[in-house]
Amino acid sequence: MSEAPANFDEMYAEGGSVRPAYGGYCEWYDQQDPSWLKRKHREAESNFRKTGITFNVYGEDEAEERLIPFDMVPRVIGAGEWRRLVRGIEQRVSALNAFMYDLYHRQEIIRAGRVPQRLFQNNAAWLQQMVGFTPPGGVYSHIVGIDLVRTGPDEWYVLEDNARTPSGVSYMLENRETMMAMFPELFSQVDVEPVATYPRQLANSLAACAPPATKGKPTVAVLTPGIFNSAYFEHAFLADQMGAELVEGSDLRVMDGRVQMRTTRGFQPLDVIYRRIDDEYLDPLTFNPDSMLGVPGIMDVYRAGGVTIANAPGTGVCDDKAVYSFMPEIVEFYTGEKPLLPNVQTWRCADEDSLAYVLDNLEELVIKEVHGSGGYGMLIGPTASKKEIATFRKKLQATPENYIAQPTLALSTTPIFTNSGLAPRHVDLRPYVLVSPKGVDITPGGLTRVALKKGSLVVNSSQGGGTKDTWVLKD
């Protein structure tokens, strides 16, 4: 059933036997009538349409709403495997938060010569306004998404850290809801860890970082740019699930040293703002003066302890791929341990030797922009045309410091459902991590993104990737 496994196949071992984690699922799958499964496949899509689980696509007619294709074959992770991942993620996330504290305070890691000064000097996400300030609870990145890829039974790599505003968690939750609605019997046969606790944990985790000015139970709100934002569905969903307000900048005003929201009863102070708008739009008085999305004066209130902003402004420094390339050093420096989850080997094109190597091996490598995201502005050497490679060569020579390069990984595959049965496709995994003064919480599961095109390594939803439910098995 599976094609020649040049890549690690998560469901099937060599010789076609089913790996242990998938045992329960495959047993169920083999008993299903293929035409019934096909019907279910169509049903899933119409269900997503009805509930309006969509994302907006910019630059299309009237911000067209699209579905992220859903694949109904779950991605399964065994309990032991998950425990190992959890340890690695906890370590990494703790290091990330310690790194941010250090970067905005004494910069010990730079003094110690473990990372270069240019790491923050050239970093577009670095915020001078955060220097010397400690966010409530000492937490910088409250919600973190760590993108993982797998290349073998025990080989997991961190592909990317999303410390600023990781999205997609609503898909993790809705994918599970859809699976439970479509295949209830499956969940009585296989013991899967629930993910539905996420919104409550998020609410608790945010409340635990309430600012000093809070009186009584903290009031939490989700700050969205509005209904035209591509992730608006997720913003509304999370507010709904947490029982929090969904606010826009125009609802908020700084009064009496607090950020207050305009309610039908007058203005009421907000304690914690889970913002889903970028730093530069947060406060027109501090950042982009033309922005209508933010709240004038919110940064002053923040610095005076009147409000918690999650994630903290300036956390974008960690999304930078140049920082990523130093993560092994960063983890070691703050935890005193070797990283449990390795980085993908990365060449920094800013280094002359690396650049020379990269230019000689463009056809083999993946080149990424240091500040880029979402699969834009990258070159995938093995599948690129000669012309694309030539264009990228020029870009690299002009501004090498803007790029890093990585080997083309043999990403693992898991099967997707197609009309002719199961077929392997490449996947990655984004577990969601919550950080509060009480500790680190990782929801057992995450968002598995899957390339729907055969052989494709691009899993981003903006580039036609899909998602599937992610199961972490109970022991």
Partner: protein, 315 residues
Amino acid sequence: MLGRTANGLFWMFRYLERAENTARLVDAGLRMALTRDHTKAKEEWRSVIVTSGKKSAFEAKYEDDYSGPNVWNFILRDKENSANILSTFEQVRTNARLVRNVISSEVWEAVNISWMQLQDDLKRPVAQGNLGKVVGDVRRAGMQVHGAMAGSMLRDAGFHFARAGTFVERGDSIARILDIKYYLLLPSLSYVGSSLDTGQWDNVLRSVSGDRAYRWLNAGEIDARGIVEFLVLDDRFPRSLAFCHSALRDNLAALARLHHSEGLCNELMRDADTEMSATTIDDIFDTGLHQFLIDFSNRNSAIATAIAEDYRFIA
């Protein structure tokens, strides 16, 4: 609740009501046209356009060609008619998205599914054979959303903002239908009591789904005065001005209770109440129906403006 959210709920239900009333108007137009000869039919369709307030926009495109398909497609889906039913319903959905974290998933899905259905219905021009179905879909959308709301929403401020939007809009559109129909049908008034043009009055009733209730109450007797009395003063009928008025009064009173304070809207509502409860059908015809309806609409929109201000709908 956020002022913006209250605003979103209020307008979500205003647009929902508007789409439904416009669909009822088209339905009545179709019925009238079908019972008339060809020339008269165009007159009926013309009156539908006039009632919807789109005469100049329509004539800018079609001049005086008031053929049925021109009229109903203009009202249902024409981009040159900014108030076409499809875009009105899109406004319902946009507002529903805005307030999605305070409406139940049943309400949201009723809106979203109806929206998908209407988009499909109105992809291309609607042929006569399909008009009844399309109009039915719009009316059903309204029923489903109201039903989902009745069965699943918390009776908090949001519920009352939604209901207030419904009844402000319904009162407004009934007053408009009555005013224009009365004006158009004025010549027939000299025949009050005769059977002439009772067909038209019957269609006025149909456009607010009041024909059956009216016949039941009046044993089949149809005359202008009786119909006006029914549609203005009979507070048992959910599409009469008196009903809208008293429902709105209740919603505003509930909002004042929930907010522990009254606003200008409550004050204006009390004035309107005093006025309405003292009015008889004789008063209405003495002062003139047109003047009465104008006064009603003005009060209605002053109350709507006061709601927006009292509850901080906009910054």
